[in-house]
């Protein structure tokens, strides 16, 4: 006993020394690059060095951690200290969406975006209370392992494998897509090449050393990503508020943003009047698009849709030809027109969707600025009525008021449903739960959940601050300033990618109005170093951080899929006598196949990546949570219950997505209680619980052995009587 403790302590101290040294080395590396930049190193080269150096670093850790031991390969030898497992879980958890997308989502949707912040942190309470310690005590290799042992027979295990693959695969595609995007943005490589370059980085690591290599790489990646996230935000906070702790300081920035929103929405002020004039132009555009859509509908109804689309496409081609034939050809306009022709919708439905998007975009801009801190804003019907008809009767006002309240309550319901799905999904995603198999003890598993959430919390409570600080800069420094003196970051990003930053003087007054700026969510994190006036090396650092976030999550997910296939399907079901060498080679071969398949799918750039990520949470929540939790907390739960519960949860969740999400041909009119398809888990979850309960009650109680297994996982140690001290 004492030797094990001292071995663990020695290992912990050794790790701490390594990673302290590593962090110092990384900071030195960044400083060295900063000095080189001052001496004239080109930004593009800095981007290359950052990406190459970090990928080589991860590969190096992967090679050093290579292993041929089954326990090392699947669960890192179960000796990862709580603190380091927490860091690894943090990196495993925080994906490209958290790192790059989160602050932007908060910038764009204000309070309503906080559903992601709460959902993606609060889920760890469920992990801690219901799952981590018990899974650790169970102590096998995968989540389907638990389902198989607890509920007996191959069926629960098979459904578990299937569900694990569905949710992990949709999620991993989004990560590899993120890797491709970051690599191509910062190095200028083609997106597809970026995808495969990133893939190589993922593979060298997990291929040789499995969970052991992934764990130690993820710790390294967490350190990079948190440094990369914090530096620009702290700097921006100092500039905007004079306080280096952004999480405290942004309260005052939020107040002045809220005051500015009021000013911009009040036509009696100078700024407000200018905004109103731009909004009127957007309104005109919206009506124009809606008129075109109406005409399209009529043509389609008359059966001439295809001819109409061809005619429109010919129009776009003519426009391109005219531009090219102009006496002074404008290269930028020609490029835009060429893209227009090349990506012209193939049929009337696609054309309508494109126009509808344009109309909706214009409509959103024609309305007042949404208040950042206000939850569940209504439709503004009452305000609109009072403006258009100051002499409205009390009945009319009451009607408009009720309309607003209904819209607001609908948003609140969706917020709650989303938070619940994200939380329960967090507590059900196999790649996260798997990490708690790797700690030395139940005791450490419990502590490790705390460290996990602590390290995740550091980033998640900074993101809302960044959203507000960026908004402060846009509202105060950009709005009202002159087009003649655009800040450098605005013109840079406008040139790099118009979907991230676009700014057009619509009312030709030479001044910037808020309604003239279009910002894509990802811009916020990507451009913060430039907004804060930091050198390019920090932009490179942010790219390396985003890459670390995407790679670490992809590592964990790929390993989950490959392990489910090799351990649960091959070893447990096909060939239980397979030798260790054979098990590991099967596992590695599968890892390769899955990785290439995922990269291939990602390189096709499937649309609606964000929806896929959300869907993974709802699916995981519906399939796993009821069976896992009742498996520990309800001894009576049995084979039939688990099978029914998992199938019912999955079926209801998938059915709901199918009937409501337009990608599958569903329509919003099918929604139950107006719940959006991304939160389908809110229906799948109760279906899963009902399935487990009903299925268990209509069939015999589980065997004595299974009941003893439940006792086994409930108590950290049952080897001796409760009165004597454990040996």
């Amino acid at each position: 006993m004492s030797t094990a403790v001292s071995a663990n302590t020695a290992f912990f101290n050794q790790l701490r020394k390594y990673y302290t040294f590593y962090t110092g080395g990384f900071i030195t590396f960044v400083i060295a690059l900063a000095i080189l930049e001052q001496m004239g190193l080109a930004p593009k080269i800095i981007g290359y060095i950052f990406l190459a150096a970090t990928i080589l670093l991860y590969a190096g850790i992967g090679i050093m951690s290579k292993t041929a031991d089954v326990s090392e390969y699947y669960v890192a030898g179960r000796r990862v200290p709580a603190l380091f497992n927490g860091m690894a879980t943090g990196a495993d958890w925080m994906s490209a969406a958290s790192f790059i997308g989160m602050a932007g989502t908060l910038y764009l949707s204000g309070f309503d975006g906080l559903a992601f912040v709460m959902g993606w942190t609060g889920g760890y309470v469920l992990v801690a209370l219901f799952l981590a310690p018990y899974l650790r005590k169970f102590g096998q290799f995968t989540i389907p392992d638990f389902l198989g042992a607890r509920f007996g027979g191959n069926l629960p295990r098979t459904i578990g494998v299937l569900a694990a693959i569905i949710c992990s695969f949709t999620y991993v595609i989004a990560q590899i897509y993120g890797v491709g995007l970051i690599t191509s943005r910062f190095t200028g490589l083609e997106f597809e090449i970026g995808v495969y370059a990133g893939l190589a980085g993922i593979l060298v690591c997990s291929f040789l050393g499995g969970m052991r290599a992934v764990t130690w790489t993820q710790v390294a990646q967490y350190i990079i990503l948190i440094i990369a996230y914090m530096i620009p935000v702290v700097w921006l906070s100092v500039q905007v508020t004079g306080n280096p702790i952004p999480q405290i300081a942004y309260g005052q920035a939020l107040q002045s943003v809220s005051a500015k929103e009021k000013e911009l929405n009040d036509p009696a002020t100078v700024l407000g009047a200018a905004e109103a004039s731009v909004r009127a132009l957007h309104k005109e555009k919206q009506l124009e698009w809606e008129g075109k859509i109406k005409a399209l509908d009529e043509v389609v109804a008359a059966g001439n849709g295809a001819a109409f689309v061809a005619e429109q496409k010919a129009g776009a081609q003519t426009k391109l030809n005219d531009l090219k034939a102009a006496p002074a050809p404008d290269a930028k306009k020609i490029a835009a027109a060429e893209k227009d022709v090349a990506e012209f919708p193939a049929d009337a439905t696609a054309l309508k969707a494109k126009w509808k998007k344009a109309a909706d975009g214009a409509k959103a801009k024609s309305g007042p600025v949404a208040a950042h801190a206000v939850p569940f804003a209504g439709k503004g019907a009452e305000k609109k009525l009072m403006k258009e008809n100051p002499a409205a009767t009390p009945e009319e006002i009451a009607k408009a008021h009720a309309e607003d309240e209904k819209a607001s309550n609908g948003k609140r319901l969706n917020f709650i449903a989303l938070v619940l799905c994200l939380m329960v999904g967090t507590a059900s995603l196999p790649h996260i739960l798997m990490r708690y198999y790797t700690t030395p003890s139940v005791r450490d598993a419990r502590k490790s959940v705390f460290w996990s959430l602590f390290f995740i919390f550091l980033l998640y409570f900074t993101a809302p601050a960044l959203g507000v600080l960026a908004k402060y800069v846009v509202y105060h420094d950009l709005v009202g300033s002159s087009f003649a003196a655009l800040p450098a970051w605005v013109s840079n990003w406008q040139a790099v990618d118009a979907t991230l930053m676009k700014i057009v003087d619509m009312n030709k007054d030479g001044l910037i109005q808020l309604a003239e700026i279009t910002i894509g969510g990802d811009l916020i994190v990507l451009a913060t170093p430039e907004i804060a006036g930091l050198p390019y090396v920090v932009s490179g650092l942010v790219a390396a951080g985003g890459l670390a976030a995407a790679l670490s999550t992809a590592d964990g997910l790929l390993l989950t899929i490959a392990n489910a296939l090799s351990h649960d399907v091959y070893y447990k079901m096909i060939d239980p006598n397979a030798s260790t060498v054979r098990r590991l080679s099967v596992s590695k071969a599968l890892l390769l196949v899955v990785a290439i398949l995922a990269a291939y799918v990602a390189s096709l750039k499937p649309g609606d990546i964000l929806f896929l990520v959300g869907a993974a949470f709802s699916l995981a929540a519906s399939a796993f949570f009821p069976a896992l939790v009742l498996g520990v907390f309800w001894k009576r739960a049995n084979h039939l219950g688990a099978v029914l519960g998992m199938l019912a949860g999955l079926a209801v969740c998938m059915y709901y997505m199918y009937i409501t999400y337009d990608f599958f041909g569903g329509v919003a009119a099918n929604e139950w209680f107006g719940i959006k398809p991304i939160s389908a888990g809110i229906f799948g979850l109760p279906a899963g619980f009902l399935g487990v309960i009903i299925g268990s009650l209509i069939s015999p109680a589980p065997s004595k052995e299974v009941q003893e297994l439940v006792d086994h996982v409930r108590y950290p140690s049952l080897t001796v009587g409760a009165d004597t001290k454990a040996a």
Binding site: N8, G122, L126, P375, R412, V442, V449, L453, F461, S717
Partner: protein, 87 residues
């Protein structure tokens, strides 16, 4: 093996702790969201209260809940003699 009364007491104390902490989690999440519009009328440190909770306050509560659970359960393990030998 046969569970003793002491084992059962350990488990019921675990359940009670779990229920209380789950209740705190529920209030910090869903009750706050449900009354977000009303709570926003209070201002703390410059933040409207519901916004503060969603962006920071509830997160801090989650971290503390998990910390407390780990600490308390690890104590209970020792108290009831069900701790592991290893650590």
């Amino acid at each position: 093996m046969q569970l003793t009364d002491k084992h059962r007491e350990y488990w019921s104390r675990n359940l009670r702790l779990t229920a209380v902490l789950l209740g705190i989690w529920f209030v910090a999440t869903f009750v706050v969201i449900w009354f977000a519009r009303e709570l926003n009328d209070f201002v703390i440190m410059g933040f409207p209260f519901a916004f503060y909770m969603g962006a920071q306050g509830s997160l801090i509560i989650y971290v503390i809940v998990i910390w407390y659970y780990a600490r308390r359960m690890n104590q209970l393990d020792l108290e009831y003699g069900v701790h592991e030998g290893d650590d």
